[in-house]
Symmetry: C2
């Protein structure tokens, strides 16, 4: 019997590993819980960047160069927005925009985000269950030296340049997990924390009431989003430094120390293995960079094998 | 001194005549009051078809084949909406969509439609003042044998096939004219009713509280949207017939008999001149079809000359 895996994912890095897992596991054995703290409203449309990246990646529609957005994209709408003097800081490709239009239409018809997501996945031939962490709007706010910024203003408009002092996941305290999320955790043999940003991709998921406690009952394996002192993509390392931590895979392992059963780091960081073990978890060093389709599958294969042979043998205290 | 003209317009036919007038009059002497009863919400965006047609036409961006939408348009967004299983009945070109996005963004920022319209016109280099009839949402509902249909569902989705028994301009009773509209009427030497659909393009404007009374104080010249028993474009003639009137330019003149000082019909309908005169207004027969840029200018020129030489000489009772 194949493993039942539930992966927690943010955007590009998470989507790549999920894509590798989807190539190996029967679809019914893989569920993905996706961060929605990055979601925002723009031009009256509800945009869900992490969900979209996961969906495009699993549908084979993702732009292979950027990781986000759609392949073979055109930019006629945004060019015309610019002609009208409108804001162009958020990259909206023509085909990508269709997803925001259709999602907004369904949401305004009263469908919850999880139902919208399921319909879009079915329409695009995605068999894996992709779940938003919540149907309730949770908005990641970044506390910076330039004030409190909505996530996309920090991340895209300000190119993650402002210095970070903390985060708020606005309205998370009154949010509920989306239908199927708690079940996805309970049904799983193992939870995978994808190589996503701990602070702004995975922490929002864990902040949804009930999810951290549900995860604590399960074996959990994390994959580092940091190699050496650099994030593979995005501001993870910069944020660790600004919050007073030496950025490294070890810092990520410490961040989740209470939840992790095992942690996967890059070969380049092999010397961190003993430090990670001292946190009370298994440590695996391998090549964690996913630069092409083969890398995704290879890393997913190694993670699955490691989970089967070692992680599931660990008895949580 | 050039005439001061305020034109009332719906979509394609109205925009063409306004374009001709704009080529002849100093920009500060021409104002256009545009129907917003056709406006609707789609995919979360506020779409104003008549305003857009007037704006695109005056900006030189209109599609010369259809009269609506933009020239050199592409359809990548709508193709992707179709791929997602979304509704494609309303034609949304990529560049056209930019206008709906930007307008919706400004409206959601709290700007009234008239201010949005002024900004878009300034951005597109339109010097003529283009005014929505109201900043308040008024929605034309079509009473048909298939029930009460929002205008775009009747006009586009149902291809104006249902049989019409009447109209409602929803919420018009509590609407106010947009800033500048009453002034535009009061400042004008003459009001022009463009060759737009009387029932669904001009009647909504006249239904805005205060506008019919303001127009009644002014010389008014109308241009027929019907030649023979056929509308030049759209359902005007079909609606006249369904409401029990013989469709003709005479029927249009009768429709506005209480307001019109003069009415312009096509040469083909010259025999209607005496019937129109019997309604107590002047009648001019000329070629009213506007098939190209020259036609627009020629008709506008004839209308302006007729107004100067004859219409302004009439003393309203």
């Amino acid at each position: 019997m194949a493993l039942k895996i539930t992966a927690f994912a943010g955007g590009v890095g998470g989507a790549k590993l999920v894509d590798g897992l989807a190539a190996l596991l029967p679809a019914e054995n893989l569920r993905v819980v996706v961060n929605t703290g990055d979601d925002f409203e723009h031009f009256g449309l509800t945009i869900c960047p992490d969900l979209d990246t996961v969906i495009y990646t699993l549908a084979g529609l993702a732009n292979p160069l950027t990781g986000w957005g759609r392949a073979e994209e055109s930019w006629h709408v945004l060019e015309a927005v610019e002609q009208l003097g409108g804001p162009t800081w958020f990259q909206l490709g023509d085909r990508d925009l269709a997803l925001h239009l259709e999602r907004t239409r369904m949401l305004q018809n009263g469908e919850p985000l999880s139902a919208v997501c399921a319909r879009l996945c079915a329409q695009l031939g995605i068999a894996v269950q992709v779940l938003p962490m919540s149907d309730d709007a949770i908005r990641t706010m970044v506390l910076t030296d330039e004030g409190i910024l909505p996530f996309q203003e920090y991340f895209v408009a300000s190119c993650w340049e402002p210095k970070v002092s903390g985060f708020q996941f606005r309205d998370v305290e009154k949010a509920r997990p989306a239908p199927g999320v708690v079940e996805a955790i309970q049904l799983a043999d193992c939870i995978i924390f994808c190589p996503s940003n701990p602070w702004v991709s995975l922490d929002p998921i864990l902040a949804v009431p009930g999810l951290r406690a549900a995860v604590a009952e399960k074996p959990v394996i994390g994959i580092s989003p940091i190699v050496g002192s650099q994030a593979i993509k995005g501001p993870a390392a910069k944020i660790f430094a600004e919050l007073g931590y030496q950025p490294s895979a070890l810092a990520v392992a410490k961040h989740y120390a209470d939840l992790l059963t095992a942690f996967v780091i890059d070969n380049e960081d092999a010397e961190l293995q003993s430090g990670i073990s001292e946190l009370g978890m298994l440590a695996l060093a391998t090549n964690i960079l996913m630069q092409n389709q083969n890398d995704r599958r290879r890393l997913a294969e190694e993670v699955i094998e490691y989970v089967s042979k070692e992680v599931l043998m660990v008895v949580k205290p």
